[in-house]
Subunit: 286 residues, 2 copies
Amino acid sequence: MLYLVGLGLSDETDITVKGLEIVKKAERVYLEAYTSILLVEKEKLEAFYGRPVLVADRELVETGSDDILAGADKTDVAFLVVGDPFGATTHTDLVLRARELGIESKVIPNASIMSGIGCTGLQLYNFGQTVSMVFFTETWKPSSYYDRVKENVELGLHTLVLVDIKVKEQSLENMARGRLVYEPPRYMTVAQCAGQMIETEEERKEGIYGPESLAVGAARVGADTQKLVSGTLKELSEVDMGPPLHSLVLVGRKVHDLEKDYIRQFAVNQETFDASWQKGGYGTMQ
Amino acid sequence: MLYLVGLGLSDETDITVKGLEIVKKAERVYLEAYTSILLVEKEKLEAFYGRPVLVADRELVETGSDDILAGADKTDVAFLVVGDPFGATTHTDLVLRARELGIESKVIPNASIMSGIGCTGLQLYNFGQTVSMVFFTETWKPSSYYDRVKENVELGLHTLVLVDIKVKEQSLENMARGRLVYEPPRYMTVAQCAGQMIETEEERKEGIYGPESLAVGAARVGADTQKLVSGTLKELSEVDMGPPLHSLVLVGRKVHDLEKDYIRQFAVNQETFDASWQKGGYGTMQ
């Protein structure tokens, strides 16, 4: 059996009791470590599970999936995924491959940022499609996300913006020379994300949102150090929310009073919040 | 401290290790039992926790929240919520009330159907806003959900349809006579939901979807008895997916091949699935 086990959002104790039982009994335990990260080290997971954990990088999952699945028709293999196994990144390809090989699979769900973002007090019912924000470079500033934000904004819906993480990145020089030397991991911040959103609007000029638009920044959702901040995109582009992982929500205009009361609690500045709320016509759309 | 602890989707072992530690130590433990249900009895939870569990019905949460919060400034109170505490039903009002009383609160996230529905293989990125379906009666067939489905369909997005549950319902006669006698709980099925959707389209006639539109039914997500079925709304309106809880996804036309491969696995009928796929122009929208 192939078990895809969700680890939740923050530390080793966010695994479910059911998931932990499976991990303790599985023949091999893999940790998917390229689409998201836990806020704890692999060693801490191993100590908690009392088991060695094999790190599965993108290469192994995409081209070496048969190694992961080896023997899983007779014994149990656990494939651990930060968040939910079918959350922000789906692992349907691994399940389909298992099926081709005659291996059954089972998913152990857990919290995903796609639902955990409800901790902002913004109602999940009122979210439109989710978008991803990649690190802009001097020459590459992809703005296709903007079209989907536009669709949400026009319907008055909130948009969850998932931000880029870069792990096992090679510099161009090291790549050219074939040296397997990796850059330190990089995690986009709420400030960077808000800044890039403003940059795209300045370029596209469709008036979908602007520096005064309201947004919520969320850092380390589910952890003891969880931090939520609301404010204008301009304010959020200057905020320091501490260590990763971060996410951002652009607030839609079809927002309820109860949502307002909740996010106003953690406004950078309640005066500018109220002013932007009024000016932006938030809460006026049904 | 007020802890809002997510229980996940299926049984007592879906609580996280972190959540379980809190429940074992809290002074009082409440179970929110009117917006969703676990697939196990309260007694099983109590045996697993080694603690008594107080059932919090809608009345207690909405008008007796101060009883729940009593003493939580000095001791710990755990408020258990099926799924995620801020998932399909937010409990922001309880947190705001706690704050007014000077009580801190903390959320322990867990799987919610809002992200757990990823088990269908449909990508959460491609979902639009979520809608709710209530039980139609002879005289009351609210169709406001149809407008939101329309917005999703026009953008090619999937729609998660959460279905009604009725617990602690009184018959009109018992209500009139002031008798606190409750009807047996009722849980809407995928078949009923699909049938009502067809009924609304027949009434509204806007051609947003039809009996041939593709959908996925999901029952008991996260449980060992989890069941997924894909097919046309007509087919799903005749399918028996067993015990609760059920959910339905109306498939959007901006659907990828990998999503198709996945949901086609559990089609009621792969021939009609392929025919409807072709005819409906699924996968042709970008």
